[in-house]
């Protein structure tokens, strides 16, 4: 089992890169940081691929083993509650290693071109390395607390990267929002962990997810407000996951997070960090499935609703990155939904497998979309898709790769997205018809908004550009091409044998009853987009007008931002924080000061008694003596 010790370096290299570029980077020429980061990431990537190859294609006759090549005690709470830092290799974590290092390496490479000449180039690379480090630490966590630790680190590196352009107020606001919303979700995660550890007395995934384990014995009798303790725990942990994965209603930070540099959006807000929530649910899947079926239901419905909700909003957005952001939301909803409808073991675990499969393919094509979008933005210096048009002539490579990505996400047969989405639909059909219907519609919507974007950007008339758009440099196009290839062929990986809920492979067949209609609705969406947006026409505007309020509401993302703003700014700031601050100064402090002032006042009053008149003192003395004598004589007796 010690054969995997080298995996330590996968995670250590980015950490070292972070420290080196972060502390010393300012003294070098910027490009050195970039190269160093890229080379380091490349090494990590290679190691991950080696790990994956030897793990998946090595000896695994009776299912995949969970391997812990490295573990050390980090902090001990009680005899059984110990935070360890370690590396846990099992199918999903190895798969995530590959996803993260691949995308991260591509983004590192891409950013050399994209971020060229930016102020803070070194900082950017330092943060990228920090993020990669934390994300890797998250997926290989051996226990839930280690995961929480890296979860927080991921959050903060996301905060740093979104706020990379820190002099832009909108970027600062977006980063703040992202951090606080996810922090709020993390509170749920934390409380979930607390409840879980209280029940089970352990943080270890190994013990928690072991099938048929007895550590939940005490859970059955516990409940709070009529809901069982495990449901509470799992729902709260899911809230943590929902925060990171931007599930409804905690989705609001993701579109704003697009304020970050585009490679960051590709890495963090499309491919890796946002799937952390999905990963968390997958990691805890046996617990959720067996101990808290109610929580699993919630996960399924939240996922389904989010995917529909986000797809609808995506139709009306015109900022290219926001469209992609809502698309990400929608796809994440898919993954969550798949987990929500999954069973455990063999064919039953199809949803689980499909979710992981979709996570994998989605990472590839969504990163590709974002990097493509980055390339476009790099060329035209605008995010607004109405500022673009006819770009296919200027950006041939970007165009082709973008098209491939759009086709993939739309579920066109034989591209990777088709396979994974199809599995999810099959899983949904088996378990919950309602969710299946939702997903079916979303598939059509996805195809429609993606091609709306595609046609708007690459077809139509030329716009007035400041300078002729030109194709991006090689460092940017190579990742695009690589990811395009990956998007096409990722679907042929035998996921059913590799990544399953019980770590045993199973056979699955194409379900044509699902595949054919889903392809058809996808093509319908593409066709509709082609009609409406291929040539510039008045039709979309008229349509928009005819939908009236609904369109406006959708365009404004159903006013969720405003609601949140209202809650935070108005209620929390104005009606909680402000009165408390006032109360503290004017009631409590005033009370304390009041004690002092009263003493002072009283002493001013009674100092008049110290009149300096000898005879007054004499009288007081005599009167006091007499009073004492009187009381001694008559009261005491």
């Amino acid at each position: 089992m010690t054969g995997y010790t080298y995996t330590v370096f996968i995670i250590l290299i980015p950490l070292v890169m972070f420290l080196v570029t972060g502390l010393l980077g300012m003294k070098w020429k910027p490009i050195i940081s970039g190269l160093l980061g890229t080379i380091g990431m490349g090494t990590s990537w290679t190691l991950s691929l080696i790990t994956a190859a030897s793990y998946f294609f090595g000896h695994h006759a009776e299912g995949f083993q969970t391997i812990i090549p490295f573990e050390m005690k980090w902090l001990q709470f009680t005899d059984s509650l110990i935070i360890k830092m370690g590396i846990l290799l099992d199918p999903i974590s190895v798969m995530m290693l590959v996803v993260i290092t691949t995308i991260s390496f591509m983004v590192h490479l891409y950013s050399i071109g994209y971020m060229h000449g930016e102020v803070g180039f070194q900082r950017f690379y330092a943060f990228l390395s920090l993020f990669t480090f934390s994300m890797l630490g998250l997926v290989i966590a051996t226990n839930i607390f280690q995961m929480y630790i890296f979860w927080e680190l991921v959050g903060v590196s996301s905060f740093l990267l979104i706020g990379f352009y820190y002099q832009k107020p909108s970027a600062v606001a977006a980063s703040k929002k992202a951090f606080i919303v996810t922090r709020f979700a993390d509170l749920g995660f934390l409380i979930g962990i607390l409840i879980l550890s209280f029940i089970t007395g352990t943080f270890d995934f190994g013990k928690l997810t072991e099938p048929g384990t007895a550590i939940f014995g005490s859970a059955a009798s516990m409940s709070f407000m009529g809901i069982s303790a495990m449901t509470w725990a799992m729902t709260l942990i899911f809230i943590g996951g929902a925060g990171k994965s931007a599930m409804f209603p905690l989705h609001i930070w993701l579109p704003d997070a697009m304020e970050g540099p585009t490679p960051v959006s590709a890495l963090i807000h499309a491919a890796t960090m946002v799937v952390a929530g999905v990963f968390l649910v997958a990691r805890m899947f046996p617990v959720i499935h067996f101990q808290a079926p109610a929580a699993q239901e919630i996960i399924g419905y939240v996922g389904g609703f989010t995917s529909l909700f986000a797809a609808v909003i995506a139709i009306t957005q015109y900022d290219i990155k926001r469209v992609l952001a809502f698309s990400t939301l929608s796809q994440l909803g898919y993954m969550m939904l798949a987990l929500g409808v999954s069973g455990y073991g063999g064919e039953e675990g199809l949803g689980y497998m499909a979710s992981m499969f979709h996570l994998f393919t989605h990472a590839m094509f969504k990163a590709l979309l974002f990097l493509g979008a980055g390339s476009i933005i790099h060329a035209v210096h605008s995010n607004n898709m109405y500022d673009m048009g006819g770009l296919r002539k200027y950006l041939p490579i970007t165009h082709i790769t973008f098209l491939i990505a759009c086709l993939t996400i739309a579920g066109v047969p034989f591209l990777s997205g088709f396979f994974s989405k199809d599995e999810i639909l099959v899983a949904a059909l088996h378990h919950n018809k309602l969710l299946f219907a939702v997903e079916f519609i979303v598939a059509g919507l996805t195809a429609f908004y993606m091609f709306r974007l595609y046609f708007c950007v690459f077809w139509g008339k030329d716009r007035h550009y400041h300078h002729t758009p030109h194709e991006s440099p090689l460092t940017m196009t190579i990742p695009l091409m690589f990811l395009a290839v990956a998007s096409v062929f990722a679907g042929y990986l035998p996921f059913t044998e590799l990544v399953t809920s019980d770590k045993l492979g199973f056979e699955s067949e194409m379900n044509y009853m699902v595949a054919v209609p889903s392809v058809l609705i996808g093509l319908l969406g593409i066709g509709l987009a082609w009609i409406l947006y291929k040539k510039e026409s008045e039709v979309p505007a008229k349509l928009a007008k005819s939908w009236g309020i609904l369109y406006t509401a959708t365009y404004n993302k159903f006013y969720f931002d405003e609601i949140y703003l209202f809650v935070t700014r108005k209620i929390i700031f104005n009606y909680i924080s402000r009165p408390i601050a006032w109360f503290d100064r004017h009631i409590i402090d005033a009370f304390m000061v009041g004690i002092g002032l009263t003493t002072e006042k009283v002493s001013y009053k009674i100092k008049g008694m110290q009149s300096g008149q000898l005879q007054h003192y004499a009288f007081a003395f005599v009167a006091g003596t007499l009073a004492l004598a009187l009381s001694m004589i008559y009261l005491m007796m």
Partner: protein
């Protein structure tokens, strides 16, 4: 000489004298008359001591000695007091007690 005069009569006299002294101390404005009031008070106390000595413990002399010492202390006190009065007189040009209120708050 004192046969037939009960102890209480002496005490009544000294008590009244004592409180006349107290009253005088409080109402007089002149420092010297206040001093005189104090002499009255001391004197009444002296009477008490001596009388108690005579009536209750005629075989001892404590009361008498106490009185002697009080007389001594009264002399000392009077001399210091008068020195003070003279000094105050020099400073404030009269010896009304209301004017000697430097020591208030």
């Amino acid at each position: 000489m004192i046969q037939g005069i009960p102890l209480e009569h002496f005490l009544v006299v000294s008590t009244i004298m004592f409180f006349i002294g107290v009253c005088g101390f409080i109402i007089r404005r002149n420092l010297i008359t206040m001093l005189m009031a104090i002499e009255l008070i001391l004197n009444s106390v002296n009477i008490n001591f001596v009388v108690f000595n005579r009536y209750l413990y005629p075989d001892q002399l404590q009361g008498q000695f106490f009185s002697l010492f009080i007389v001594g202390i009264a002399a000392a006190e009077a001399s210091v007091a008068i020195a003070l009065i003279i000094n105050i007189y020099r400073n404030v040009k009269n010896i009304e007690v209301e004017n000697v209120n430097e020591m208030k708050f």
